[in-house]
């Protein structure tokens, strides 16, 4: 006998798309359970909400660029959800941040204008909705940048960042803060936990201030606290008397973990369940409905019965879609039909890593409500969708949010239709 639990909606995947869909549904009263075999992409992503950054040239105003972008790509997730679905999803997310567990923390921006934010390498990255702690890095601001390294943090090299910012036309220089943190090296997360302590903020500021010149803004790796980033950022700005902004680092990504923490808190507050570690295995079906998913839990399977499924398991990167040795791609949990596979004889990959990769646009075939082909109760969100190249477009979180939000609306609309019938 396997234990059986029953939900209105089973969401597979705990990245931004899955947590968004699940939370939206739980907030509307659905009994929701999120199953994930591990933590999702949040911990690796910079924590910004990139909607459309390149088409292929730099996009300064996503709201203006999106209609043309969508018109040229009728199979893109944005074309499916519609341009009008993006802004409400961003607003929903901003509300989650403001009501979240990190007091005072908020995001700034929107579709009108992309920020141009420095990366750890000193490149400039376009992003629509960004943490307040990063917004001060906008390259449109002509204030010179002082990139601050922390000696124990090997994942951020201030001089490299500053040199490349200079090449990009900003005035920038680099300094290093030497601070004893009780160990030879620390990662961004370890330092962020220290920044949650007010005493550490004061000690850090005391070391930093003598290194700064007048009229500089301060670029720090994204280490300004996990539980209280607003407090850490505001206090540091006050103590150094200059604008301070965070630059996303290599994983583990502190701003990304904040996103996970706040979406998870929103899900829990809305009464949703979260089960991490359980790998979804086979599915049970009745006709075109998926009625249950069997998950590998310790010792035995657990059967999750459900009326609706939201598949938000990601693409090739997460193993949700696999390319077999027979060169056939498959969606690994529900074996849903895919779209976008290069036809036999056509190249599947090209040599330039960052070029258009034909395989990259493979995803689960869906209709405009994000309903998976061949099913009547499985919706798809996030990187499992076909037709996008997020790393070229600068669109990953925008797609995750908009499609997660849309999948939840689709469930609610169809649920309403079912109830009415």
């Amino acid at each position: 006998m396997s234990p059986t639990l029953t939900y209105d909606v089973l969401v597979l995947g705990a990245g931004v798309a899955g947590l968004t869909a699940a939370t939206c549904l739980a907030q509307r009263g659905a009994r929701v359970c999120v199953l994930a075999k591990g933590v999702g992409s949040t911990h690796l992503a910079p924590g910004t909400i990139d909607v459309l950054g390149r088409d292929p040239e730099l996009v300064r105003e996503p709201a203006d660029a999106l209609p043309g972008f969508i018109a040229a790509r009728p199979e893109h997730p944005y074309a499916l959800v519609g341009v009008d679905a993006i802004a409400p999803a961003l607003e929903w997310f901003s509300d989650c941040v403001e009501q979240g567990p990190q007091p005072g923390y908020r995001y700034t921006g929107g579709l009108d204008r992309n920020h141009l934010l420095p990366t750890a390498l000193g490149a400039l990255r376009p992003s629509a909705l960004v943490p307040e702690t990063m917004a001060g890095g906008d390259a449109d601001d002509g204030t010179p940048v002082c990139a601050v390294g922390v000696r124990v943090l090997k994942d951020f090299h201030a001089s490299l960042c500053a040199a490349n910012l200079e090449l990009g036309g900003l005035r920038a220089r680099a300094v290093d803060v030497h601070l004893d943190v009780g160990r030879a090296e620390a990662n961004a997360l370890g330092l962020a936990r220290r920044f949650d302590e007010p005493t550490f903020r004061a000690a850090f500021a005391a070391r930093l201030v003598p290194l700064l010149r007048n009229d500089e803004r301060v670029a720090l790796p994204a280490i300004l606290g996990l539980r209280d980033p607003h407090g850490a950022w505001a206090e540091l700005e006050k103590r150094v008397g200059r604008p301070v902004f965070e630059v996303p680092t290599l994983p583990p990504s502190v701003p990304g973990i904040r996103v996970y923490d706040l979406l998870r808190a929103a899900l829990r507050a809305a009464g949703g369940r979260l089960v991490i570690g359980a790998q979804a295995g086979s599915a049970e079906r009745e006709g075109d409905r998926v009625t249950a998913v069997r998950a590998h839990t310790s010792g035995h399977e657990t059967i999750y019965r459900t009326r609706w499924v939201v598949l938000a398991t990601g693409g090739f990167d997460s193993g949700a879609i696999e390319l077999g040795s027979d060169w056939q791609a498959r969606e690994t949990i529900l074996d849903l039909p895919l779209r976008g596979m290069p036809v036999p004889g056509e190249p599947r990959f090209v040599a330039d890593y960052f070029a258009h990769q034909p395989m990259a646009r493979v995803g689960v075939a869906v209709d405009s409500s994000l309903l998976a082909a061949g099913t009547s109760n499985v919706y798809v969100a996030g990187a499992a969708l076909p037709g996008a190249e997020p790393w070229r477009e600068g669109s990953g979180e925008g797609i995750a949010l908009a499609s997660g939000h849309r999948a939840a609306q689709s469930v609610l609309e169809h649920e309403g239709a079912v109830s009415a019938a």
């Binding site: 370890g190 570690g277 359980a278």
Partner: protein, 407 residues
């Protein structure tokens, strides 16, 4: 290096590691001490050097507490904690195992020695001079939270207990903690099960071997867990469920013994592990089917709930939260800290006590901030550590259900 056949299976998972560092974000130990360099470095990375019989360059893997949060959080399915358990076993094979670790890893031996002379044993364990001697002679930290012997055994109560003669048969796997230290928890588990129509059987049983396993004594652990599997298998064979309240011991039966000790092929253990349930897992499933009695009376209490690492290792979410939400009056705060630090016997050791307390500091702070007078937690060693670290009483979630039922 470990030569167990199961080790090859575990090793095959390390090629899935993409070095994403998600395990590092979950590790409670590397967060507080550089003595443990973290699950990614110690697991998938160092494991490549352990291949072909090469030894790891240092003994830092001994500082892994074995909590398993790395494996649980890994999105690629790498068996990080299990690989590290094998590396620790290999280390102990070469360097030997301390007398202390051999002693504290045998709760039934300690229980049989201390239980009958409980007042004396407890007084000794509370006496400062004795603890200082124990620290010097054995390496058992003088401040580490040791439980008190109850002076009676749960199994004696169970033999006398007159339960209902009808109802669905269920087997209760009480662990050593219930047997020697907290028989009242076992009585409440039986009470809650009987209230819900079960006929509870308590077969003769012994330790599951988990403390031996976590101290690198794999051969001894295998002996214990197989003996337990032989005792429980006849019941499992007729379809009876086995339920336990000690969440780390049920996890041992469900998964860890098979994966870590290389017992995947043992038919008795395989059967037992399939039939074994954590008590809250079972009760939530009953509730989902509409079969759990919900005649709870109000329990006016503010409670902090901490899901132990080993409970999370069942990969079933946090069923205790859903169950406690059924009890009117209870105000439950879910704690967001990773680990209490104790990890079974880890935090008892002189060289690891402070690490365990530093790990637990986040949880202790959250408990205080929550205003809760009581902390619910599914593992007994975690409860003892929480009481030690917070000064608050800590109970198994089932004890609160028992109170709600007014049994």
């Amino acid at each position: 290096m470990s030569e167990l056949p199961t080790h090859e299976l575990l090793r095959s998972s390390l090629d899935h590691c993409v070095k994403c560092t998600i395990c590092e974000t979950a590790c409670p130990v590397s967060n507080v001490t550089p003595l443990f360099p973290g699950p990614k470095y110690e697991g998938p990375q160092a494991e490549r050097y352990r291949a072909h019989g090469e030894d790891a360059p240092d003994s830092s893997v001994d500082y892994c507490s074995g909590c398993g949060l790395c494996t649980m959080h890994c999105p690629q399915g790498v068996k990080i904690a299990e690989l590290n358990a094998h590396a620790r076993y290999g280390l102990k094979q070469r360097n030997g195992v301390k007398l202390r670790d051999r002693l504290i890893a045998r709760p039934t031996v300690l229980g049989r020695l201390g239980g009958p002379v409980a007042p004396l044993a407890n007084a000794t364990l509370r006496a400062r001079p004795a603890r200082i001697i124990a620290e010097r002679a054995l390496g058992l930290h003088r401040d580490a939270p040791l439980p008190s012997f109850a002076g009676r055994r749960f199994s004696s109560w169970a033999k006398r207990h007159q339960g209902p003669s009808t109802g669905t048969k269920i087997v209760y796997f009480h662990n050593c903690g219930t047997e020697y230290y907290e028989p009242d928890v076992g009585e409440k588990v039986v009470g809650v099960l009987e209230h819900n129509g079960f006929r509870v059987e308590v077969p003769d049983q012994d330790c599951c071997g988990l403390p031996l396993q976590s101290n690198g004594l794999f051969d001894d652990a295998r002996g214990y867990v197989l003996r337990l599997a032989r005792a429980l298998a006849p019941h499992a064979r007729d379809g009876t469920l086995i339920v336990g309240n000690a969440t780390s011991c049920t996890l041992m039966l469900k998964r860890e013994a098979r994966e870590i000790l290389g017992l995947e092929d043992d038919p008795d253990l395989t059967l037992v592990s399939r039939q074994t349930y954590d008590i809250c897992e079972l009760l939530l499933e009953l509730h989902d089917r509409g079969e759990l009695k919900t005649d709870f009376q109000p329990v006016e209490e503010v409670v902090a709930y901490h899901a132990p690492c080993q409970q999370q290792g069942h990969w079933i979410g946090k069923p205790a939260l859903e169950l406690l939400a059924l009890v009117p009056g209870l105000e439950v705060h879910e704690m967001d800290a990773r680990c209490c630090g104790i990890a079974g016997t880890y935090g008892l050791k002189r060289e690891k006590y402070q690490i365990a307390m530093d790990v637990g500091a986040d949880l202790f702070g959250q408990v205080h901030a929550s205003g809760a007078a009581l902390v619910a937690c599914d593992s007994e060693t975690c409860r003892w550590q929480i009481e030690h670290g917070t000064g608050r009483r800590s109970v198994h979630p089932v004890e609160l259900l028992h109170r709600g039922y007014r049994l």
